[in-house]
Assembly symmetry: C2
């Protein structure tokens, strides 16, 4: 067994089932080792697809996928979505090949400071310096990725060492460090606040927003009347009929501040104390600073589900929240806009779907009414690095076979990740991409208008417009192996959604917004 | 005048004429400032297009373009091509917006360690900490980018400071530090070697490969019989009829070593001593180590043209090299391969074209016979980060209006940069992209075969194949606003080339290789 085989066998022994790869010459020993493994390997045409897919997979499965990346430039290409994964606290293990150890100081063309790049997104970064470490470092990378809430671990693997025979074999897997428990004092204090009659909110993130966590949060909401509020950029949210309603913290600061100011008490769990997305002039930076009635029972590193369980116990909250009702809006008609698009999707959304609402402006109308749809889950953009949606959808589809994945994408952010459609086609993934084609980086025009500037200058118009030419998404999708259809009315969208949702496999609907 | 306006006016005063942008909210003050400027602004749908275009523009014009990038994720997306620019020693000035300075420690979603990212590719990195520095830091960024051979400079600009009024105005521009002169002792020693009768080579890079540098190198070759050899990954090469022949150092190490071993003396100028692209087992790392008869008259930071002038003077080499003859190969017929594709391109290449031969394997057959074409220039991949070609072509077309730009691209590397076609369409750039569609990452299969491994395993085949589905480049191009045609014979390729070269504007030829 050579070191490359030891890396892959160790990963398989640890339960890793998937590798998103765009390998090069230095990674070939790992590719050959994968030939002898059971792990599924998925090719991305650009590394940003690999890392975004690993994020989506990790969020839904709770397990790390491998990414296989080609030296510094390959890692660099994947960094933006690793940044999103870091913000989502997704377990991901990057295997980054490097030059032979004896060749590194020759400063050959591809040489970069890989560790400097890796550290910007990784909670753990290491370089193999002896082949005998192959198994132990791989085990440690996986352990670090899975510890607590999860995170990104990056292991740099020089080519010559990967080829060396190793005697060590697959090491025993270290225990995953569980997330630390909440502070009992904080639980008691939070329970005390929630027992009062003042308006209260639970501000939730991470595992408090799905599965057992959300169920416990719903019980607390039912018992105390507290409102559930989630991070703007949540990693994963279960919503729709039968789930407790959760309000998404608005993107714009005055709306976010107004929502939070409406509560005398805010109990945080699984999230960081909320901050504004940008530092807008005259607007707040941290929404909950300098006020009373704020208690955090679990931050981003503590065990949020355990904290909710203790809090529910302390409150005697034992009954599940009845949840929202399936209450779809009427079918939209006429020329499309974001609200009509949201209405159509909420009507047609199949049960247990995974929605990836990464359209920068047009995800919000959907978020506002998604609780009226059939029960489903959503994966949002956590780190603000746009263009992740089509790759997140790949990872989600691989983590959740049998569930329809729907990427509600913008034309601006979707254009970052055209290459993802090819992987969706190759892997026959059950992904519907709805491109909200408003032919602009609309958010930038909104931001300018909000700041009192008209987006009418020559350069401002050009740099915020996606016209001249407009992207023909149907042709692009077909060129990459995915069938597509263009619609511009509510009627046509509903019809296209029904067809697309009835058939498995990837599909693109270009929804032209007026 | 606010700080953003001061940044842009300072850049214009320094002669900057172009900005490749994908801005976000934090960069809006700079976008508004650009509304009042003469500078041309070009939108890229992904930051890798912006940085690759800036590299192409800087290589041909000798001047830095600005890139305008959105915080850490925007810079991260552009890093791979900035790595190529660093290796090419291209002047580039990155303006990276950041959060308001008072918001940075709130660790909002987009917050990253921008400087850590920037330093991996930049010779100079700075952050504005007072608005009053806007002009002086911009002037310094431009000066550092232009100093010597050129390089990447990155300036981080917090949003709140960009909005502040500044009294300082546009500062005087510091003098560009010229590249230091060569060592006279090295010149004399090199001349001594070249006067002998033993086989000698000039190993050339940077400005020794075009314009006055190449002319001087040609004189020396004519006077002494020395062979001109260039870096594998040259930044810019003038070749074709009338130019002195230059042999490109082969990619594979045994071929490169054999070529260099054939010379008793190697005189280096404008390049680093050559190293192998990868550290292959049993192959050399540095080709010229441990041997005699090697003298470097100018490295990558010294003035290579001045060194060649002094060397030519010392040798009394005053007559220009007669150069190669226009000697196109016969028109190819039948099913296409890389050699036939090269023959067709060499036949049809218009005078003064700029060729971007970034197809990973299929650029080499073209390189081998390009000197028989009409005079033209080439821009190669310098840093090994694939996928730069379509963006390099954008920059070249903007730097050289009136000259046809031809990107000889692979399907594997071209798929990294589909988004570039949209910018080519929007800016009506005179770029012909020839996609060498072999439906594989062929280089990886070649590398495996060379290492004695058959690329036949399930995973190896999947991860090196671009089939299932094959990309339909004609549809993708049309979807992005660029007309396209598919050919699979020599006859059809020649016909398609003639049509495409006769008409201005972007075009894609998908050349399906057998």
């Amino acid at each position: 067994m050579n070191a490359a085989e030891c890396v892959i066998r160790t990963a398989e022994t640890a339960g890793v089932e998937l590798c998103f790869a765009n390998p090069g010459t230095t990674e070939m020993p790992l590719v050959l080792a994968l030939d002898g493994a059971r792990m599924r390997c998925v090719l991305g045409l650009h590394e940003t697809i690999c890392t975004g897919a690993a994020d989506g997979y990790g969020r839904l499965s709770g397990k790390p996928a491998l990414t296989l990346l080609h030296l510094g430039p390959g890692l660099a290409n994947g960094l933006a979505n690793l940044h999103n994964a870091r913000r989502a606290r997704t377990p991901v293990v990057n295997l980054v090949g490097d030059h032979a150890s004896w060749h590194r100081d020759a400063d050959a063309p591809l040489t970069m400071d890989i560790e400097a790049l890796a550290r910007t997104v990784s909670r753990w970064t290491a370089r193999m310096v002896r082949a005998s470490e192959a198994g132990s470092l791989t085990a440690e990378a996986i352990t670090r990725a899975r510890a607590g809430r999860g995170g990104v671990a990056t292991l740099v693997l020089p080519h010559d060492l990967l080829l060396e025979e190793v005697a060590e074999g697959v090491p025993p897997m270290p225990r995953y460090e569980p997330a630390p428990a909440a502070d009992p004092g904080a639980i008691a204090a939070a329970a005390e606040l929630l027992r009062g009659s003042a308006a209260s909110a639970l501000f939730l993130g991470g595992p408090a927003l799905w599965g057992e966590g959300l169920r416990l949060a719903g019980r607390i909401a039912r018992a105390t009347g507290a409102v559930l509020v989630c991070e703007t950029g949540f990693a994963r949210l279960a919503t729709g009929a039968g789930r407790p309603p959760v309000r998404r913290l608005p993107y714009f600061p005055e709306q976010a501040q107004a929502l939070l100011d409406g509560f005398a008490h805010v109990i945080g769990c699984g999230a960081k104390p909320p901050v504004s997305f940008f530092g807008w002039p005259g607007k707040p930076s941290r929404y909950l600073d300098d006020r009373e009635g704020v208690i955090w029972v679990a931050g981003t590193e503590e065990d949020a589900v355990a904290a909710l369980r203790e809090l529910a116990d302390a409150l005697g909250a034992r009954e599940d929240h009845p949840g929202t009702r399936h209450d779809p809006p009427p079918a939209p008609t006429g020329p499309l806009d974001g609200a009509k698009l949201a209405a159509a999707l909420v009507r047609e959304l199949p049960e247990d779907a995974v929605v990836v609402p990464t359209a920068v402006t047009n995800s919000y109308p959907f978020s506002a009414i998604a609780e009226r749809a059939r029960p489903h889950e959503q994966l949002a953009l956590t780190g603000g690095a746009i263009g992740e949606g089509p790759a997140l959808a790949i990872g989600a589809a691989l983590a959740a076979p049998g569930r329809k994945v729907i990427n509600l994408e913008a034309d601006g952010s979707g254009a970052y990740a055209l290459q993802a459609l090819w992987t969706q086609a190759r892997e026959r993934l059950d992904i519907l991409t709805i491109v909200c084609a408003n032919r602009a980086y609309r958010i930038l025009r909104l931001e300018l208008e909000r700041s009192g500037q008209a987006p009418t200058g020559r350069v401002t118009r050009a740099l915020t417009s996606l016209e001249d030419p407009s992207i023909d998404w149907v042709q692009v999708a077909r060129g990459l192996g995915v069938p597509g259809i263009r619609v511009d009315t509510g009627e046509a969208l509903v019809e296209a959604l029904r067809r697309a949702l009835a058939e498995p496999g990837p599909c693109v609907i270009e929804a032209v917004l007026s």
